[in-house]
């Protein structure tokens, strides 16, 4: 590698980082070339985000060397890193709800004349950037009014707009649909052509092979290996990451489908209208559609989190009213929300408390809590969804993104609801754990649970659903049966076509 060394734009070696008792990084290294897309792979909690945050100046490394353009590098703050030409898209969205898109993009890079802001110029410039990206929003829209996916797009646009030499992308596509992912890839290729280095973290293996040139792999905070992308296969990468081979990511087991569990008729609300479908016991129904097509909105309303303008819901044949999530839970409906930070977790409470929160009413009938029972049940669930933590008393905040997601899934699995709504259930979850979660879904379905799954990852939809419902602009426009997918009658392209309403 010695001749390559001169060519590296960023390099680090022997890096250590600990959080209290947790050793997050142990003697890791990374070499990044300019004009290349460098994938960073590893299980949940492998230390990928931690290293990236060290580079961007959010954390300080305990030990190790970092070189940037051959010079020793060390950022004490993000503004220093940004100033030196490194920008980052964070795994966890950080949104300024009361700032406009333009203000948010140019935060800390405001346009000024004298000491006063020139808002008009800034808005124009921001609008230009947005239009260039093909992002269909006004620059003066407040960030708080955007959906998660749209916020994610703004973050991408912002990171790119720094015209940095290195752009770190920590799971940029976890809430994007195929179209937007493609748009991002186009941008990545353009950047690569301009000589920009990109560090790309994702748990979607097919993306790695689509845009990345080389890949480094971490496991349990340690460096495991480096490969040119052409030299490895997906299975090799997976076994390097997970330490074992994963048979199938979509272990869908066909099971007998029972009576109708839930039926909705003519649901309408903000962002969707006239939605009717039914799901039967043992069935997994996938909802697909473009970002903003109203899948999440309709399910949130169904779950009682948002108001429903009109429509009726039948649970096991009986009409029910669901004015609040509490009512939904009492009826035996659970929902994993796509926005885990806002609607999923109490970040500063423990793993155990988060898991048991929606289940307390059912599993703790006495006046005082039976903490032994709680710990037992919670521990079983944590094991089931493979949460990686030191103890159940750890705050969820100290877990890696993927492990946080597992906690959210865990808390809803615990009560074994009759109907389980999963909105992007495997967002940020590594391949190995994804397979486990999918296996769980199959298992619960076999036990008679009705599952509604929203996912922007088409392979997941196609691999796991008995039936796929296609949303477009707030309306249900089609239905695809598993048999058609299995027989190859309907392909991924066909579904994409449908999503556009064609």
């Amino acid at each position: 590698m010695s001749e390559q060394d001169k060519n590296l734009i960023f390099e680090c070696s022997g890096v250590y980082k600990a959080f209290g008792g947790t050793q997050a990084l142990q003697d890791v290294q990374l070499q990044v070339k300019p004009g290349s897309v460098h994938a960073l792979l590893g299980e949940n909690g492998a230390g990928k985000s931690t290293l990236m945050k060290c580079i961007i100046g959010m954390y300080k490394i305990d030990r190790g060397t970092m070189l940037y353009n051959g010079e020793p590098y060390m950022a004490r703050s993000t503004s220093e890193a940004l100033g030196k030409g490194i920008s980052m898209i964070y795994q966890e969205l950080n949104i300024e709800p009361f700032l406009s898109i333009a203000d948010s993009i140019f935060l800390h890079r405001e346009f000024v004349s004298g000491i006063f802001l020139s808002k008009k110029k800034q808005n124009e410039e921001a609008q230009r950037i947005l239009d260039d990206f093909g992002f269909n929003k006004k620059a003066t829209t407040l960030m708080g009014e955007l959906t998660i996916a749209q916020c994610q797009m703004v973050e991408i646009i912002k990171a790119v707009s720094y015209q940095a030499n290195i752009i770190i992308m920590d799971e940029p596509t976890s809430s994007l649909d195929n179209t937007e992912t493609e748009r991002l890839f186009k941008v990545i290729r353009e950047l690569r052509a301009k000589g920009v280095a990109i560090i790309y973290i994702s748990h979607r293996m097919e993306e790695i092979f689509e845009v990345c040139d080389e890949v480094s792999i971490f496991r349990d905070g340690r460096y495991v290996g480096y490969y040119e992308i052409g030299d490895v296969t997906q299975d090799q990468l997976i076994s390097l990451m997970v330490g074992r081979s994963v048979e199938s990511v979509f272990p869908k087991v066909d099971c007998p489908i029972g009576d109708e569990a839930i039926r909705v008729e003519n649901l309408s609300g903000k962002g969707f209208s006239d939605i009717s479908f039914s799901v039967r016991k043992g069935e997994i129904v996938g909802l697909t559609g473009l970002v903003g097509s109203g899948r999440s909105e309709s399910m949130k309303a169904l779950f009682g989190l948002d108001p429903l303008a009109s429509g009726t819901i039948y649970l096991e044949g009986e009409e029910v009213k669901i004015p609040s999530p509490r009512a939904a839970i009492e009826l035996g409906i659970g929902m994993v929300n796509e926005d885990r930070k806002n609607y999923g977790l109490c970040l500063h409470r423990s793993v155990l408390e988060n898991i048991s929160l929606p289940n307390l009413r059912a599993s703790q009938p006495k006046l005082f809590l039976n903490k032994k029972r709680e710990a037992k049940e919670g521990g079983d669930i944590a094991k089931m969804v493979t949460v990686k933590c030191r103890s159940l008393e750890d705050t969820v905040y100290s877990l890696s993104g993927g492990n946080q997601q597992k906690v959210v899934v865990g808390k809803w699995i615990m009560s074994q609801p009759k109907v389980l709504i999963l909105d992007e259930p495997t967002r940020g979850v590594d391949v190995g754990a994804k397979a486990e979660l999918h296996a769980l879904m199959s298992k619960f379905a076999a036990e008679g649970m009705a599952i509604i799954m929203i996912s922007s990852e088409l392979p997941e939809i196609m691999g796991m659903s008995d039936r796929v419902l296609v949303y477009c602009e707030g309306k249900l426009i089609g239905e695809i049966m598993r048999a058609d997918i299995l027989s190859g009658k309907i392909t991924q392209e066909d579904i994409l076509q449908k999503e556009f309403g064609a």
Binding site: G20, G21, F303, L305, S324, P325, R326, A328, I329, E330, M335, N337, N342, Y343, G344, L345, C346, L347, H348, R349, E353, S356, L357, P358, L360, R361, Q364, L367, F368, L369, K371, G379, A382, K383, T386, V387, K388, C389, R390, S391, L392, E393, K411
Partner: protein, 322 residues
Amino acid sequence: MVLGMTTSKQVKARMLLGKYGIGIVLLFLMLIIGILEPSFRTGTNFLNVATQVSINGLISFGMCLVITTGGIDLSVGAQLALVSCVLGQLITKQGMNALLAIIIAVLVSTFLGFLNGILISRFHMFPFVVTLSSQLIIRGLAQIISGGQSIPLQSTFITDVYNMKLLGIPFPILYLTVATVAAYLILHWTKLGRYIFAVGGNENAAIASGVNHYWVKTTVYMISGLMAGLAGVIMAAKTGSAQSNIGVGYETDAIAACVIGGTSFAGGEATIPGVLMGIFIIGFIYNGMNLIGIQSYFQPMTKGMVIILAVLMDMFMKRKNA
């Protein structure tokens, strides 16, 4: 895969230290005062302090629950005044049975807490603003009820509330003990406690998990009103008079006790043992200053600095033992 099995005794001790490091601060404070002033170390003095902190103690536990949901209750000081005036009016002016009057007075303060809770939860108003305003309203009520006068409370039933002893232990210490146990059980051993943590930790997530945040918030403000009401009864018994201008600024001591005891203003974090220690730290600050005889102009400074230092030391220990 779950649980790295390193939960050794050492780790546990460190976690405990991290959680209750404020205990060290408390011991440290007691040590310093004890060295400076021998009379601090007597048994009577400790009984004295424990008796003195009972009023602030009761308020603090209610306040702790409120702060843990991410709120604040600035109306507690005014509640003290109102309760005393209600007692004065009912017992001294109307000649009502003292016990009945106490029950009515406490119900009144609980109801006002309930109103605070409704405004905050149902109308989505900021707790600071609601309770700042309700403080004014409640004190106004107290003035109207008492006609602005001080009303003597000579019923022995009332004064006994403060003065009686059980096996040499003054009654207020018993109230404090009961309140501590009750608050501990509520916050750490009931579903309500869990919901309080959840609402304070992340309200949206709590709602999405089926927690009735309206109910939780209303309940904590009611409890705070109830506790302030009980504290008001003790206060009236202690000073033997009812008037509308008492209890000014009592919310600050209660808030200080909570925060010293590790209650997070951001919500979602608190422990009752911590708050109890905070209550005693505040009590010892006053007691220590009185005993040592710190010059009066230096008393506010001393109090302010000790609070800041206590919080800093606690944070420092938490960070080291995280």
